[in-house]
């Protein structure tokens, strides 16, 4: 039978401790700007603990503004009132990054445009070809404008040029999502809504919640010191065939592999059936071994536009909860936007066959250890 090439996948597994001096958990969360959903899975829990509920993104609202011209976002007044006065997250929606134009403003004050060739040529702003395109067949370009640069103010050439390009050359309009974390606590998200409410349709949106509880469920047994031992296992299997090893038995029984746990967490999040028999016609998937039976677990998800500060806050709350409770471990998953032009920091993000950019923390009570699993697509750079 013919064989077809299957798309590549990139998954990064890390094992570290929160208290380790080089731990990258903070940068992983704070550099991932556009978070679409946050999900926690807590085994041995009947309901979401109060400490986690309080730190959840529930109270963090955001705005959706319809048909907003880009010139409004690069306007000097808007830049000084919002971009420079806090961390502003802006992302266009309803446009697909592989076929359309996409725009975003990062909290660092940079405007990123990912545009197709026609738009790029009409626009007249300098950019560079997308790094995932073939050299002579470039169809996507990315344009970057630093809104907080000194040269970006009224009267300066750079500013006037950008305004002219967005107003007169090409009137680029998008539906935007906006979230804002002001530096000054007396300011609030309302200021952002009232700024345009007379001219454009602004909606204040709450995060959507979804929660479910599972009873008498098998969960994998995990040893935080054994991240990936499958390759290891096959080597040992080979040596056992030669009649030499005994230690492998113990390794196999003690813990599940990070890749198996990751798949299982996905099965729980998608509410899949994890009780398939190995000879079943419909489904042969089951919880990886070794597993343990727990009476109740909770899975809770918030969906919308969630700022990374909020997630960092939540990660801290979850860490202290895991440390002082009888949970064997807990998981926190953050999903990025499929059509965001960046994944982590200013690393370019593309769609290819799937625009995954998500990460999961598996948090252990012992020695504040954690596993960090990052799933990205073919058109992504490893963070």
């Amino acid at each position: 039978m013919v064989e077809f090439l299957s798309p590549k996948s990139k998954t990064i597994f890390e094992s570290s401790a929160f208290i380790h001096k080089n731990s990258r958990h903070t940068s992983c969360v704070s550099d991932h700007y556009f978070n679409h959903a946050v999900e926690v899975f807590l085994p041995c829990c009947d309901s979401l603990p109060d400490a986690v509920q309080v730190s959840s993104p529930q109270r963090q609202e955001y705005y959706a503004v319809k048909r907003l011209p880009l010139a409004e976002l690069t306007n000097a007044e808007f830049v000084s009132r919002f971009v420079k006065a806090g961390r502003l997250y802006v992302l266009s929606i309803g446009q697909h990054i592989d076929t359309h134009n996409v725009a975003a403003i990062l909290p660092t004050g940079r405007l990123i445009l990912s545009v197709n060739k026609d738009t790029y040529q009409e626009l007249g702003l300098e950019g560079k070809p997308s790094q995932f395109e073939k050299p002579r067949k470039v169809t996507k370009y990315s344009v970057e404008v630093n809104l907080v640069a000194e040269s970006f103010c009224k009267g300066k050439k750079n500013y006037e040029r950008v305004q002219w390009c967005f107003k007169d050359r090409l009137d680029l309009t998008f539906d935007f999502l906006l979230a804002w974390q002001p530096n000054d606590p007396s300011q609030s998200l309302d200021d952002l809504g009232s700024f345009w409410s007379s001219k454009y349709e602004c909606l204040r949106v709450e995060q959507r919640q979804h929660s479910f509880q599972m009873r008498n469920q098998s969960i994998p047994v995990i040893d935080s010191s054994l991240l990936l031992h499958r390759q290891h296992k096959s080597n040992q299997d080979a040596s056992r065939m030669n009649g030499s090893s005994q230690g492998c038995e113990e390794t196999q029984v003690r813990s599940c592999d990070a890749a198996e746990v990751y798949e299982w967490l996905g099965a729980v999040a998608c509410q899949c059936d994890c009780s398939g028999a190995s000879d079943s016609f419909v489904n042969t998937y089951r919880c990886p071994e070794p597993s343990q039976q727990v009476s109740s677990s909770v899975c809770h998800r918030w969906t919308g536009l969630i700022t990374s500060e909020r997630i960092l806050h939540m990660l801290d709350a979850l860490r202290s909860k895991v440390e002082c409770s009888r949970m064997p471990w807990a998981a926190l998953t953050v999903h990025g936007f499929t059509d965001s032009p960046v994944s982590w920091g200013s690393r370019e993000h593309g769609f290819s066959k799937y625009g995954n950019n998500l990460y999961t923390f598996v948090i252990f009570p012992k020695e504040q250890r954690y596993w960090l699993i990052m799933g990205i697509g073919d058109h992504d750079v490893c963070p």
Binding site: T11, H36, S225, L228, V282
Partner: protein, 123 residues
């Protein structure tokens, strides 16, 4: 205990997951998960013959009301399953279509879909 460990896996994915939705011409037609598995086998058989029909596919989830399913296939048979499902036009003498909504090597990614989330923003 080791402080830090990092493993990057960049190969072809071992498993791929597809989120699909089944539609019949007659909107009242409903099938269950066993029939859906048979439909997948039929689609594979139609395009790739006997060897195609033997490709292992797990139906991780099947919702009877919306007829949405999550499938698990090995990375090397992804293209075959995807193409067979796309080209299926009829099941049990009734016209039908399968829409592949999401494909990913990470099952967790299928839990949310940011592309379709904001389509019905309240106004």
């Amino acid at each position: 205990m080791s402080g830090f460990q990092r493993v990057v896996s960049k190969d072809t994915a071992e498993k791929f997951y597809l989120k699909v939705a089944l539609e019949f011409e007659n909107p009242d037609t409903r099938i269950d998960s066993v029939q859906f598995r048979a439909l997948v086998s039929k689609a594979l058989h139609q395009l790739y013959g006997e060897t195609g029909a033997s490709i292992p596919v797990d139906i991780l989830r099947f919702q009877d009301d919306t007829m949405e399913a999550i499938l698990r296939v090995s990375g090397r048979s992804l293209v075959k399953v995807w193409s067979a499902l796309t080209l299926l036009g009829e099941y049990a003498q009734e016209e039908c279509a399968i829409r592949v909504t999401q494909v990913s090597p990470h099952l967790l990614a299928l839990a949310v879909d940011s592309r379709h989330f904001f389509q019905n923003l309240p106004s």
